[in-house]
């Protein structure tokens, strides 16, 4: 998400003032992401520096500082930048360093920790969050399209994490049933396997994933 490009998009309709930009940004994102007016002015300053927007000359003359009295319009370079940004796919090739995934990977190896209990604590929290989003969705009942899109995205994101926890729990159960222990899954052991053919189901990732396109 880029405030920069969101502001360019709003300015592509017509010249606008900072305060107006903030209000429209919030309305267009379903009011899920609050934005303070200071952020708007800072971003406008940078956009102006990069010649992507220009101040609209006002009857009172030009003031150096952006403020409520100053309107902005998008430049041709700004339009080109916006079009480029919309078509550029975000980099999803590298797995994010996910806190939750790390916690489960580590919980498997810490003596005295019940990994199923750790999984359940996270699952419960995720579902409680999903309940809150669902209640918001129900209250709004599709009246605000932007908001509905944001809520769908959040629910699907949280759902995917719950599904991963379900899958992880199933995988760990099978591994424990097969006699897996953290010692068996020590770094280096997971590619070779023991003489008995035991292969751990889980090991801390050692490979660095290359960039895939």
């Amino acid at each position: 998400m880029s405030v920069r490009h969101a502001l360019l998009a709003l300015l592509s309709e017509e010249p606008k003032y900072g305060l107006q930009l903030r209000e429209e940004f919030e309305a267009h994102t379903g009011e899920v992401w609050p934005l303070n007016v200071g952020q708007v002015y800072t971003t406008l300053q940078r956009l102006e520096r990069d010649a992507l927007v220009a101040a609209v000359a006002d009857g009172d003359g030009e003031s150096a500082e952006p403020g409520p009295q100053k309107a902005y319009r998008i430049t041709d370079a700004g339009r080109a930048e916006l079009a480029d940004w919309l078509r550029t796919v975000p980099d999803l090739s590298t797995p994010p360093r996910d806190d939750l995934v790390m916690k489960i990977l580590i919980a498997v190896r810490v003596p005295g920790i019940d990994v199923h209990e750790v999984i359940q604590a996270h699952r419960r929290y995720l579902i409680e969050l999903m309940q809150e989003w669902t209640r918001l969705k129900e209250d709004d009942d599709g009246a605000d399209l932007s908001f509905a899109l944001v809520v769908d995205s959040e629910l699907l994101r949280l759902d995917s994490v719950v599904r991963w926890l379900d899958a992880a729990e199933g995988r760990l159960r099978r591994a424990f049933a097969d006699g897996w222990t953290p010692a068996l899954g020590a770094p280096g052991a997971h590619r070779t396997g023991g003489a008995d053919g035991a292969r751990p189901a889980v090991a801390l990732p050692r490979r660095r994933l290359g960039t895939r396109r």
Partner: protein, 253 residues
Amino acid sequence: MSKSMGKSKNEAGSVLELRSISKVYGKGAAEVQALRDVSIHVAKGEMVAVMGPSGSGKSSLLTIAGTLEEPTSGAVLINGEDVHAMSPGAKARVRRRTIGYVFQDFNLLPGLTAVENVALPLELDGASMRRAYLAGLAALEDLGLADAARRFPDQLSGGERQRVAIARATVGERQLLLADEPSGALDSANGEGVMRLIHAACKRGVAAVVVTHDAQLASWADRVIFLRDGRLADQTAAPVGPESLLERPSWPC
């Protein structure tokens, strides 16, 4: 918790109460313990979702709550009355009059129209055909299905069939709705529609227990219960105000 209903024996006013339910299938080496000491209350107007991996006891819980199966030990109370102590006739009446069921595969009778399917439980309960028919029509109208009333199940879409099944489960004075994976094979929009309808029924005072493996569907419930190896492993906390989600720090530039 809703306020006490006065005449019922249980103080909490639960429509459904499961007390220390255990269920064992088979004997000896083939013995499977499906439920272990599970206790649950479901209050009037409350929607509870039950989640858990397959084999965790979700479906057993539902068939026992629906009096379709006896627990090995423990008690099932419907509106404060112990089902085990009821005469067979009284038990059948509770099944027909108080409890509505929604199954994964809808279970509509193919030879009956939508409205006849919905009216059937009332007719079985002794209502006149005309009264049952009118009540069935009203239930379909509530779910936006008045136009489909005279069509047969094979002339309805999957989403419509499921709405008919929900109308049948809530027709009359039913107080307890039990649903096993009610979104079945429906797509996500229709699956969500099903949960909206069940939630709406709860707002009218019906108590509902919905078994699902789908977190998005479960998130419609007031409370989510997690089963694991036949035990009640965990449940969600009481809901907080939804506004908390929108009180977030500002977005970084």
